[in-house]
Symmetry: C2
Subunit: 339 residues, 2 copies
């Protein structure tokens, strides 16, 4: 059972309802927290609509709003997971509100200090997981170490990558390169149990597939993710413009159109379903606000897949193997310098 926030879809509640229907047609059972009647989902197969009028928008302060408004759709969705009625939560609304509602409403896995926001990057033919993309603007080295475990567990359990190669994002391959936090994390990860650490990776290594899991702080990660999306759009746009430059190029563009459409789909962030908040006792997925119905369905599918493959339990097991619950990682974190 997936708890879906019925608000926040930029293309309107009809698109959200269509996304829910597409997911339900796959056999996924949904509880949707949205306005009564508006999304027109009452009584549809596999979908239960829980009428809710309040919702938290991008204009609200996420933390304050989540604390003050227990009837807001995202807060009710989180409560639904907390009480065990639903197994995962999904929203295409405010990322901040979803993170806040999940962090307050669900409990953290034992030993986890900070949940991290992860995304599968839209790289054709590869499953590259990138985290943190915005949950933690400033991190300690121990947080980066935990992100490595969280990401590796997710990559293996959900994306099906065997023994995923974990890289630490920095400005050079050598172990001392980067900030103090990165250099410290590199040291810890180099000897970390139960993890295939491949060292530092640079910006150019991400699209080249130099690692299956790329770990960084939420400031760098958020900028990098948006830059990657923007650059892909720039290049596709420049090529489209070039295809209009003259009649010969235009004829070529026409012949290439089906093949180019495939590339565009592969590079579309909607296809990977959105960002996942890792490190809690249930999964929370944040889809793009601008998602199509198919994009919204993909966000729900991602959450359902996390439940199906027991992603949370497997993450807990890997953290245990890495020593997080025996105090090794947590101890380092507590003893570490303030960032």
């Amino acid at each position: 059972m997936i708890a879906l926030d019925g608000f926040g879809a930029e293309r309107g509640s009809d698109v959200l309802a269509d996304g829910a229907r597409i997911a339900a047609a796959d056999g996924i059972r949904l509880r949707v927290f949205g306005p009564a009647g508006e999304v027109g989902l009452d009584g549809e197969d596999g979908i239960e609509l829980i009428a809710t009028d309040d919702w938290i928008s991008n204009e609200d302060d996420p933390v304050a709003a989540v604390r003050a408004r227990p009837e807001a759709s995202i807060v009710r969705a989180a409560a639904d997971v907390a009480t065990g009625r639903s197994e995962a939560m999904v929203s295409v609304g405010s990322t901040g509100a979803t993170m806040a509602a999940a962090t307050f409403g669900l409990r953290r896995l034992q030993g986890v200090q900070r949940p991290a926001l992860a995304v599968q990057l839209p790289i054709p033919g590869r499953a590259v997981l990138f985290l943190d993309v915005g949950a933690n603007t400033v991190v300690r080295s121990s947080h980066l170490v935990q992100f490595a475990y969280l990401g590796a567990a997710f990559s293996e359990a959900v994306l099906g990558v065997e023994e995923p190669r974990v890289g630490l994002l920095s400005v050079g391959e050598e172990s001392g390169k980067g900030t103090e936090q990165v250099a410290d994390a590199h040291g810890t990860l180099s000897g970390a149990a139960g993890l295939r650490f491949v060292g530092n990776v640079e910006g150019r290594d991400i699209p080249a597939g130099g690692a299956d899991v790329v770990v960084t702080d939420g400031f760098t990660g958020n900028i990098a993710l948006k830059l990657m999306e923007g650059t892909a759009r720039l290049v596709v746009g420049a090529i489209r413009d070039a295809a209009r430059a003259n009649p010969i190029a235009a004829a070529g563009g026409l012949l290439m159109r089906p093949a180019l459409g495939g590339v565009r789909r592969e590079l579309d962030p909607d296809t990977t379903g959105g960002a996942i908040l890792l490190g809690l006792r249930a999964v929370a997925v944040v889809g793009h606000g601008s998602s199509s119905a198919e994009g919204i369905a993909n966000a729900v599918r991602l959450a359902a897949r996390c439940v199906e493959v027991r992603a949370v339990e497997r993450t807990a097991a890997l953290l245990e193997r890495g020593g997080a619950t025996r105090g090794t990682l947590a101890g380092r974190a507590t003893a570490g310098p303030s960032a």
Copy 2:
């Protein structure tokens, strides 16, 4: 007169010599610090070869090597500028060694605390300057403020952008978003004299041209620059693969080839000449080690253009207008918290 490091070209000294010849053919006078005879440049028009056998490679520790080896080509090139024989220095060798040689050998502009490494991004149809891309892994807010002035001056003087829009790279548009350093810099820049500050810009705004000058720390900037290059390569590669997917697409690819070649050239980092170290009393340019002869010539042309338009003097004047030399920016920096 431009001092060119005669070592460090990954494609060999012949390519470096050809690059020097192309630049000299434009009327640029060069002093090349390279191995006697090897680059075959002795006595060519506009080129003077100063025989040097020692050079600092990417394997050397840049700071230690620059300090210990006064005969190394890049150190001699910097000395040539310091003594006034040459007006700017260019290398396609180690970025670290070039930065170290320039920083030690040339003096900083009054009020400048840290030189920054800037690049013009290869965005078709736009002149976007991005800094710092690697000189300062950790920054104070006052450094970011100075980078804004350094970048604006360069954008106006060398890239010809009138009243360039300066943006601060962060994870959201609101003034409080990002790290403490970014939030503080935002506050200072919001009221900064002689600068057209447009606020925070996000990762996706860089390729979209949301600002003419984008300011960040050297860790984020280095990762972002390499990620952008890698992503452009990924997308162009995916489209090339798509053009081979079937005979019809292949025919289309053939017709589009000339137009696509133009796009590839526009996206090629070599076309913009390389990175420029800003904030010193002379300009140092670091081209790509893998540059073609044309790429090396572009690095030399960039340095020559900086000299021609008096980029350093204009930068000093803008810093003066912004209060840097009256102690405003410098004072903040000294009083600020340690990063």
